[in-house]
Amino acid sequence: VIGRIVDRMRQVGLLPEEDEPDPRDPLLRQWKDHEGLYGWLTTVQNGPVVNRYMFAAFALFVIGGLEALMMRIQLARPENTWVRPDHYNQLFTMHGSIMMFLVTVPLLEGLASFALPVLLGARELPYPRMTAFGFWTFLFGAILLYSSRAFGEVPEVGWTSYVPLASNEFSPNRGVDFWLLGLSVAEVAALGAGIELVIAVLKMRAPGMTLSRIPIFAWSILVTAYAMLFGFTPLLVATTLLEIERKLGTRFFDPSAGGDPLLWQHLFWIFGHPDVYIQFIPAAGIISLVVATFSRRRLVGESLIVASLIATAIISFGLWVHHMFSAGLSVLGMSFFAAASMSIAVPSGIQVVAWIATLWLGRPVFTTALLFALGFIVTFVAGGVTGVMVASIPFDWQVHDTHFVVGHFHYVLVGGVVFPIFAAFYYWMPKMVGRALNERLGRWNFWLMFIGFQITFFPMHISGLLGMPRRTYAYPPGLGWDVPNLISTIGAFILALGVAVFMWNAIRSVLLGHGEIHNDNPWDAGTMDWATTSPPPDEGYRVVPIVSSRYPLWEQKQLDRGDLEYERIVHGLAESPTAWRAQLVTSAITAEPQAIVHLARPSIWPLLAAIALTLNFVATLFDLVGLLIFSTLATVGATIGWLWPSRLERERRLAGSGSSLHGLPVYTSGTIAPGWWTMIHIVLVIAVATTCLLFCYFFLHAKASVWPPPGNALPELRPMSWAAIALVGAAGATGLALRAIRADSQGWLRAWLACAVLASGLFLATVMLALQEPSLSHAAHAFGSIVLTLVWYQIYMVLAGIILTGVVLVQALLGYFDERRFLAVQNTAIYSATMAVNWLAILAALYFTSGA
């Protein structure tokens, strides 16, 4: 039995594979990993990486669930002493944190990373090394967070880490630091995943898969990925500010020095509320797939569903204040956000009606996946209704921080996210690992989880209405809370039993191999994820499909036939190139083939970069200056190694590979190149980060009676303006470098890049000199804290720009660029221009609003 389990774990990438002879087919050889442990560590194939991602996230789900069970045992009867109060605080903090940050989001990212390539007709995700890096950073972030237990410094301030509770004064041990830094590692992974998923959906679709033919799940991932870029960036800013407050003594959140604890709440909830929808929207995408497949018909109102997904994501960014209704804001001000909170029920309701209409008009087959989808609809609607209730300000005041809110958000997050994830497990397991989960056990799994869930969380609404506060470790008898709590605890065990049944089902069907499937499309689904073998081959699609419908498997007779030009391209691509991993790039709207790009091969760099980055955070955590310097250099080195062109690219052997067959260019730049799109999205993330920091500045400014406070002053304007001129000069120089390489002028390219490095260096020197101003201290007042944070933020960004430009200069000296191959130069020019605009925006905000 153990041998079979080990074999299966090898097959799905959870353990290193045994050595196998190289396949004779050159295309297959190209997509094969290295052998043994090294191959396991260096693989960048989305199949095995996603399986590990899902396995690790599910293990954390079980740990988080056990923590919840311990809380429920504690609350089963009044005045219980089973868990100490500080342990109880640790339990709810870790349970909330890992479920929100390290379970649902990674599970959905994993499902998206697995499903998108096959669903879109791509061979791989655009940045396979980023997928691998995402997994390693996620894993190391989780280990870092949980290692707090080994040090006896577990976070105990709740998953929201509100200040002043999370400040040094009230949380002097390193628990909060573990929380902040562990999550920061995971946030980096989420931002990387966000950009990769956007590029995948916009640029890696099969020919003919126009916007209106993109499957709803892919739409949901596109919308979610943008929400991640806009949502996780404020969280990264917030956690960084709190960490530097704790480590360096800044005063952002200290009211005695011009700071404000409400600033943390704003920043946290600007992320926190959209985060609910970052989880819900892909879950809704899963439900759309499952409902359509098992209703045996197209979804009703597909375009309406797409519009609803977009509206839900956008409105979710205007709701954060409803988490702060009891924080003392003006009633009229809160009413605007209450209105937005109620408005979001409209797009959510549209989707629910569309799913019900699809089921009504179809011929539903009640598989376990569909049962979970139905469980989702019932539970999510109930959670949505209580959501509208708490969007009402007076009602929110009544139930704020009570078990009513705990019941509400579990209805939304378990009903709205966990049930769809289980639906996805049952739906996609045959595709992921070539084995289906047992349906009979699946029904036990569903009904135990569904009934257990309702028994656990419905009574919390009652105990909450009776006044039971959340996050309380014990309660006195006789308040009417005893019975609802006992029922909740019984329900929690039934729910846990349901999860245990799923685990047994997975072991039996997948690892012991009982879940054999008889064809590659066991559900008779219409979307392209079922067009390949199950599990998909390493090379994905040998012949990239041509799409003319949203449900190609239902409505197209042949996937490799269609437009004659497209046919020539996809069949040509199957023949050549085979000397490197090639991927078709298509236009964002009409999905017309535009180019072939080179995908990364297996590499150790993602793992090394993740280790270096994690060490960086560990060094910060334990104040290890030497390790901090080493790990910073190691991170930079690993990133350069990662991005350095492969030998094939350096020797220009990509060009001409099969171009007579497929007729598409290999080297591209501008809007055709995925790399250009990536840089644009990096710029977007920088813009969001700058906006967040400027929001902090204006927020603190608005709260202050005098700005700048007495004894504080901005650095002299003159050197800061010279610094701005230097940055504009650097941007201009990179622009001229781009113009030079377009004219194939290697000498001017090198000269202008060197000028850009010098100008950026001049910026650093000028600003550092200006910061010698003695009247500005980061620790005296929030004014100095935020001003210096803005300036140092810019310094770090420019430093990154110098490294980027320097690396491109070295590549230019080695002759890697010509008039067709200049994407790196173009991206450097975009980055330099962004830095200049960023600094001008910061200067304008600082000097126009402080009377300087």
Binding site: L211, S303, A307, A311, L332, S335, F336, S343, P347, T590
Partner: protein, 110 residues
């Protein structure tokens, strides 16, 4: 970008209206000038007019490519995006009107 712009603008108008309403309510409470109440209502009316105008413009623009002989697939996608803009417009009209309605019932300092 020009195809996505109407969608983003419709959403942007709603968000700007939310932020401006919050700021005007704060400013109205801090001053005694009665004109700010009118400005708050005007801001809502302006937001609604903008969303309606953008939706109509997107709908009209989607008919243009067919007349100009643009490729069928592109025309189809423009029509799809116009449909999205109009649907989103309707949702954001509701959201903007609901937020603006608060100005009718609550004073700035309540």
């Amino acid at each position: 970008m020009r195809y996505w712009l109407p969608i983003l603008t419709v959403a942007g108008v709603w968000f700007v209206h939310l932020a401006v309403s919050y700021f005007l309510a704060w400013a109205d409470c801090a001053t005694t000038w009665a004109g700010l109440l009118i400005i708050r209502h005007v801001a809502t009316a302006l937001g609604l007019i903008l969303i309606v105008a953008l939706s109509i413009r997107a709908q009209r623009a989607s008919a243009l490519p067919a007349r100009l002989g643009t490729r069928r697939e592109l025309a189809m996608e423009q029509s799809f995006l116009a449909g999205l803009t109009v649907t989103l417009g309707l949702m954001f009209i509701f959201a903007t009107a609901l937020a603006g309605a608060a100005n009718l019932f609550l004073g700035p300092c309540s």
